[in-house]
Symmetry: C2
Subunit: 206 residues, 2 copies
């Protein structure tokens, strides 16, 4: 099966498996099973075996999975055996938290550029970054060959920023603005909106 035929929902579970495997590896573990991984993640062992079988066999029947080997394979499938540079647009609270977050590099990403349109913020330092004028965004992203961006601007500005990022060559957008974005089908978008997650859980509250 070509990897392009694999459903996105399967791809979406691989980073979850990877995160859990890396944690087991840190705990000094060497071998795991689909049963154990499933129990940790609340996913059935059958689902995990089926997902992994789409990419070929990673374990021998009855001997389980070698944790480090499987994690490395998943990283290779997900194209995380390199480091992707990331641009952040919006230097408010979320942008600042992302720019100073230490957890990206181990997982395949590093922030390289941060932009804002507020003259009071442009030129300021966040962590090791200088906030750049968003007027320079397109040029700077193209120069650096960055393909991944995070949008942390207010909702009303997010679509315009997204369209500019697409013109600059961005192919993957993580959108923190609480609004849907319209982009060409060649560009991937994922949304993080804490209120949406909270609302989904509220349904079950009493």
């Amino acid at each position: 099966m070509k990897t392009t035929d694999i459903p996105d929902i399967v791809i979406g579970r691989l980073p979850i498996y990877l995160r859990s495997l890396r944690r087991m590896h840190q705990e000094g573990r060497q071998i795991t099973s689909s049963q154990e991984l499933g129990e940790r993640l609340g996913i059935s062992a059958a689902q995990i075996r089926k997902d992994l079988s789409q990419f070929g066999g990673f374990g021998k029947q009855g001997t389980g999975y070698n944790i480090d080997f499987l994690a490395n394979q998943l990283e290779s499938i997900l194209k995380l055996d390199r480091v992707w540079n990331v641009a952040v647009v919006g230097a408010g609270g979320v942008g600042r938290a992302l720019a100073t977050y230490g957890g990206f590099l181990d997982r395949g990403f590093q922030i390289k550029l941060i932009f804002d349109n507020d003259p009071a913020k442009i030129g300021q330092q966040i962590g090791k970054f200088i906030i750049q004028d968003s007027k320079r965004m397109r040029e700077a992203i193209q120069e650096a060959g960055v393909k991944v961006a995070m949008i942390t601007v207010p909702a009303k500005a997010a679509q315009e920023v997204a369209s500019e990022l697409v013109e600059a060559g961005i192919k993957a957008i993580l959108n923190y603005a609480p609004v849907n974005l319209t982009v060409p089908s060649t560009v991937r978008v994922q949304h993080i909106d804490p209120a949406v997650h909270l609302q989904r859980m509220a349904f079950y509250l009493e």
Copy 2:
């Protein structure tokens, strides 16, 4: 159909519909259709009609949906016709960004409590909150009757915090720590991990 029989994946789409409807309402719009909503969200019109039909009819055939009415109905279904108090555990970059974010109240939530275990942070002010000692967490959450929490502590501390929150009566956890959590089946957990979202998109990069 009892609402408890409705698949969680359907419940998960309702906040997305709601967000889009509220935006249309802000734009001064009064009537929409499953076609228009679907185009905005990249979801098929048939899926939207099927999802909404699980809760009864919200529009007359051929006349579309009244935006404000449908949004109010979705808020009622999702139990957002009240305000849920929220506790934040962890006053690092993410906790601070959440505590000062102005977008929760309109969507059914307000942060009431924020905790940390770092003596240098306890007693400090973030926005309108004083950071409280996490030793007081259980007591303070029970006193305030809070049912919803957000975890923004480092990965290694997250499970212990989650277990304490469950003991304190928390029923819904939004977990920002990059680690899976084990909680009783009576407690809902949602995860926000930007690296997981980025990794899922990296698969499609070239």
